[in-house]
């Protein structure tokens, strides 16, 4: 069995919705059947085979080769198996993902991991804005699982996040962790302005001094035992997140947003 592979033939100009191409959605289908699946390009319906060269037969391990940033909704609602994107992914990567693993070697567009409740997303390049955030009209962003970004992330990381882990090796943009309800965001680089604005609970774990809103209070230096559990768990993520245990459990802690109960925490490793 070889991975079911979709190789993009030419970059499309409209956005393409690839949400149906998950291990769950394609289960039991042959490459031939996949080729005949309908896809919308603008207002025209075409067959998948018109846009992609489809080979392979293992629908539990899907490989997408694309340099376009217009393939949206990759891995939507998937519960198992794996999707690997060699190249870039569009918006809504892993939207409402419930299980399985998504890996993108390049960049991903906005709203990656929005509404996800399980599984993992690994982005080798940069992530767009609203990583693990709620889309307009939804009350909650990410609800579980883990997102790893080896590059940088855009603004509003984890907006309305409810649970789960977002790990960013590079920098995060403005309003990181805004309106967060719970969960954990780790940023090994720097964060932008208004970090944690309107967060209710949850943890922002940083390595650089954040730019916090005035509604955060200094809690001093604290030794937090749960960091030992967290860093031990993150060691399974590998890569830059593997060696965090050596940073210890002592952190500088800020509490906020005091306008929203103040039970959120921003922790900075010294």
């Amino acid at each position: 069995m070889t991975a079911l592979t979709l190789q993009l033939l030419a970059p499309p100009s409209p956005r393409i919705d690839l949400s149906a191409f998950t291990p769950d959605g394609l289960a039991g289908q042959s490459a031939d059947e996949v080729r005949r699946l309908p896809l919308w390009v603008g207002n025209q319906q075409v067959e998948t085979g018109d846009l992609f060269r489809v080979t392979g037969d293992d629908t539990d391990a899907i490989l997408i080769r694309s340099d376009s940033d217009r393939l949206d909704g990759i891995g939507t609602g998937m519960t198992r198996g794996s999707i690997r994107v060699e190249g870039r992914a569009g918006a809504y990567l892993g939207r409402r993902q419930r299980g399985g693993a998504i890996a993108v070697t390049g960049d991903a567009g906005p709203f990656a991991g929005s509404g996800m409740s399980g599984g993992t997303i690994r982005i080798g390049g940069d992530a767009g804005d609203f990583l693990g955030a709620a889309i307009a009209g939804e009350r909650r962003g990410m609800r579980g699982g883990r997102i790893e970004v080896l590059g940088n992330a855009g603004d509003r990381v984890g907006d309305h996040q409810r649970r789960g882990q977002i790990l960013i090796n590079g920098n995060a943009g403005d309003y990181c962790g805004s309106r967060m309800v719970a969960g954990t965001i780790l940023v090994l680089g720097r964060t932008g302005i208004n970090t944690g604005l309107a967060m209710r609970r949850g943890t922002l774990l940083l390595t650089a001094e954040p730019n916090l809103p005035p509604t955060f209070n200094d809690n001093g230096t604290q030794q937090l035992a749960f960091l030992a559990l967290l860093t031990r768990d993150l060691a399974t993520a590998g890569g830059p997140f593997e060696q965090l245990k050596s940073r210890g459990t002592r952190v500088r802690r800020w509490l906020g947003d005091l306008g929203y109960g103040g039970q959120g925490e921003v922790l900075v490793w010294g």
Binding site: T184, T203, A225, L229, L230, R232, D233
Partner: protein, 298 residues
């Protein structure tokens, strides 16, 4: 059957089904982990009066604990799942939550959860917060030395309690020394608890009493001071009898612990003052597990 000059009586120990759980307690150093473990397993020799039988199973090195600190693993046995839940909550709440620097984690997994931090978290008066890490939920309860970190639940499993053997020796010092050797050897094994003080009981009991209020009373047949008065099991050369009671997570654990205990004592030989090894049972009618001494050591 005589092994190395010590007689093994043709009898069996009778044991019962119990419920058990394992907790892992960590602390700032081994001393405080042990203090927490000892405190929460104090007054836990017999379910009859203590509600639970509990003890420290092993000391754990930092690389054996969830949070990388030194710790102890604790085994707790009770007659029912409900009683076990009650005992875990009380003992962790009063003895671990209160103990400086400790954290408390589940020491086993199964489909039967036992609340741990689930209810203790309310001590946080609303300031408690939870973290889900690797699919497990932990509670962070603010306390005066920082945070009490406690896993939401532990798990319980069906277990075996009441395996035992009796050591009959020429006198008390001899019986005690032999039992201490056996306890030390058995305690090197995991999954086993010797609930009595120092692992040894002197007040072996029989079912029933002349007093209606008592369910159990002294095992008169093995009391040296009643020899000549009751139907004694003790020959003239026996001056003291001590009992080692063994609880285990499985029947095999109890069997293996019994074997280790018997072999350790037999290896001491007759010079140790041990004359005979027997076991306590109720005619085989009450307990679902029987451990025949000769079969085990044979």
């Amino acid at each position: 059957m005589v092994i190395n000059g010590i007689e093994i009586e043709d009898t069996f120990a009778e044991a019962f089904g119990m419920n058990a759980t394992r907790l892992i307690i960590t602390a700032i150093n081994p001393r405080w982990a042990r203090i927490a473990g000892e405190t929460m397993t104090g007054f836990a020799t017999s379910v009859i009066g203590c509600g639970a039988e509990a003890g420290i199973e092993a000391e754990l090195a930092p690389d054996q604990t969830p949070d990388g600190r030194p710790g102890v693993s604790v085994l707790l046995f009770a007659m029912s799942g409900k009683e076990l839940e009650k005992q875990v909550e009380r003992r962790v709440g009063q003895c671990v939550l209160t103990c400086p620097s400790t954290a408390c984690f589940a020491g086993m997994t199964s489909e039967k959860p036992v609340p741990l931090g689930k209810n203790l978290r309310y001590f946080g008066d609303g300031w408690q917060s939870s973290k889900q890490i690797d699919g497990r939920r932990y509670w962070r309860v603010p306390v005066m030395d920082g945070e009490f970190l406690c896993e939401e639940t532990t798990a319980r499993t069906s277990a075996v309690g009441g395996g035992n053997f009796l050591v009959l020796a020429r006198g008390l010092p001899e019986a005690l020394a032999a039992c201490e050797h056996a306890v030390a050897a058995i305690r090197r094994r995991p999954n086993v608890l010797l609930p009595f003080p120092g692992g040894i009981a002197r007040s072996g009991s029989k079912v029933g009493s002349k007093y209606k209020a008592l369910m159990a009373s002294t095992n008169d047949a093995y009391c040296p001071t009643l020899r000549g008065l009751v139907k004694s099991q003790l020959d003239a050369d026996i001056g003291a009898v001590l009992e080692i009671v063994i609880n285990g997570l499985t029947e095999a654990d109890v069997r293996e612990a019994t074997r280790i205990g018997l072999e350790t004592i037999c290896a001491l030989g007759p010079e140790s003052g041990v004359v005979r090894i027997s076991a306590g049972n109720y005619g085989g009618k009450l307990g679902q597990y029987h451990f025949h001494l000769r079969e085990i050591i044979g």
